[in-house]
């Protein structure tokens, strides 16, 4: 469990990126922070592994203040996946995946063996192990990024718009992979995105952010869909444009669910 208690971050230039933010992020679930660009998502995420230091407030992991821990050790215990993969261009795929275990002093042979297994886990061909990141497609790079984030077997995985830079088809594929992985691994995932559909797809808990990291609404996707807290939320999730409005049409005696454009999306079960 990760807990933010009235956390504020003001950058040296005076920008208040996060203003008195409080949130409980439950363990072994996916919490998605969703909001438009500049709403403070990255800042929030980076405060969890202390890449960004808070100005005030308190952040705890499992009841213990993260400020009592050595930042480098803290980061090694938390997986981090970012947009554009952030892979080290001068290291082969396998060594990228093994980065954190190697930093932790795991023997090179052991770390590499484990890294190969991880390539399987994220659905990558082992033949890619000896390539450099520049020799991979964007989607493959992101998979390597996920494998690297998992390599030290962390309890917590931070993901900053990890699928934001790949094309929609690959994105959908990666999202499904993450759903599958999370079912198997049960990590505490904090996932940042500006894509509300991605948030609803992946999030057990979805936190909708306005500027300054102010929470517009939080809850399960169903809670937010069924009762948008205000106009901002309604606009953000597209409810105001009827985008979320499905209706039932009876066809051949069965209840077919139809979306706003009149396209059938499924059949209601009794």
């Amino acid at each position: 469990m990760i807990e933010f208690r009235t956390v504020t971050k003001q950058f040296p230039d005076g920008t208040v990126a996060v203003d008195e933010f409080s949130l409980v992020i439950p363990a072994r679930q996916t919490t998605v922070l969703v909001g438009s660009s500049g709403s403070g998502k990255t800042t929030l995420l980076r405060m969890i592994n202390r890449m960004v230091e808070k100005t005030s407030g308190e952040i705890e992991i499992d009841g213990e203040s993260i400020y009592k821990l050595n930042p480098v050790a803290l980061r090694r215990s938390i997986g981090y996946v970012m947009q554009n993969s952030g892979l080290l261009p001068h290291r082969k795929v396998i060594d990228n995946v093994a980065t954190v275990p190697l930093l932790n002093g795991v023997k090179k042979a052991d770390a590499r063996r484990a890294a190969l297994d991880l390539l399987d886990t994220v659905g990558l061909d082992r033949a890619l192990a000896d390539r450099y990141p520049s020799q991979l497609s964007g989607g493959q790079q992101q998979r390597v990024g996920v494998a690297r984030g998992l390599a030290a077997n962390p309890n917590i995985l931070l993901m900053d718009e990890p699928f934001g830079a790949v094309d929609p088809i690959v994105r959908a594929e990666l999202q499904q992979e993450l759903v599958r992985l999370q079912r198997e691994l049960g990590k505490t995932i904090v996932f940042v995105t500006h894509d509300i559909d991605e948030a609803f797809l992946l999030g057990d808990q979805v936190v909708l952010l306005e500027k300054g990291g102010r929470i517009a609404q939080k809850g399960t996707p169903a809670e937010i869909l069924s009762r948008p807290a205000n106009d901002f939320v309604a606009t953000f999730i597209g409810a105001d444009r009827g985008r979320r409005a499905l209706r039932v049409e009876v066809v051949n005696g069965r209840n077919v669910v139809v979306d706003a454009d009149g396209r059938p999306t499924g059949v209601l079960q009794a």
Partner: protein
């Protein structure tokens, strides 16, 4: 040509002297520039100061410097140390800006990712920033190498004998073969050094040869090194 055949032993031994005098300044210049370039890249305040000073260093004419150094260092006037120190100063003058640019060429996203993985500041520098700055560092080192190899000859004027001796002596005694052999030998050394540097680069930076250009090398190609530009013209270097 006759002269060359008769004096091949002299040419060879002077070539070895030239090589011996050129290598230490190149290596020392690289090593000394690393912390200075890091400082220049790290803080806005130090950047201006360090780059200005190193730029000025390069404008000191070499002959007066070689003559002044014995007095400053307390060395003998004919001591090769003077030439080594003088050339190291020029190497540093060229390399500080290049090192700063090289470190600035490393993708900030990659650096942040390294921090997120749990590299400490020190290991992040040596394992991530330094190698990724490699292509731009190498480009600078190649210019320093050519510059140093040719500047060694100036030492002959103050009596530290090297290939420059063939040039001076050949002019005095009107032996074109001697003059030309000095120039050719210098060129050959410069070319061999460049080959070696490029080879070392390939060996140490295999990722730059990967099928598609990597992010860092793409950046490296876009990097201009104004401090180095002036010296890229070998004639200008020779004229120093």
């Amino acid at each position: 040509m006759n002269w060359v055949v008769n004096n091949i032993g002299l040419i060879w031994s002077l070539t070895l002297v030239q090589v011996t005098l050129a290598i230490p300044p190149i290596i020392l210049g690289f090593i000394i520039s690393l912390p200075l370039g890091w400082l220049a890249n790290r803080f806005r305040l130090t950047r201006g100061a360090l780059l200005t000073i190193s730029g000025l260093l390069y404008t000191i004419p070499s002959l007066p410097l070689f003559i002044a150094l014995p007095a400053i260092l307390g060395t003998g006037i004919l001591d090769p140390i003077n030439v080594v120190v003088g050339l190291t100063i020029y190497a540093v003058a060229l390399m500080v800006r290049q090192t700063a640019d090289a470190l600035a060429s490393v993708d900030p996203g990659t650096k942040q990712a390294a921090t997120a993985m749990g590299f400490s500041g020190w290991s992040r520098f040596w394992k991530v920033e330094f190698p990724l700055a490699g292509p731009v560092l190498l480009a600078g080192l190649r210019v320093v190498s050519v510059s140093t190899v040719s500047l060694v000859s100036i030492g002959s004027v103050i009596g530290v004998t090297s290939l420059g001796y063939l040039f001076l002596n050949g002019l005095q005694r009107d032996i074109p073969g001697e003059v030309i052999s000095g120039i050719v030998a210098t060129l050959v050394i410069a070319i061999v050094f460049d080959f070696i540097l490029v080879g070392i680069g390939r060996l140490l930076m295999p990722w730059t040869r990967a099928d598609r250009t990597t992010r860092s090398s793409r950046r490296a190609k876009g990097i201009k090194a104004p401090g180095v530009r002036a010296a890229e013209n070998p004639v200008e270097v020779m004229a120093k």
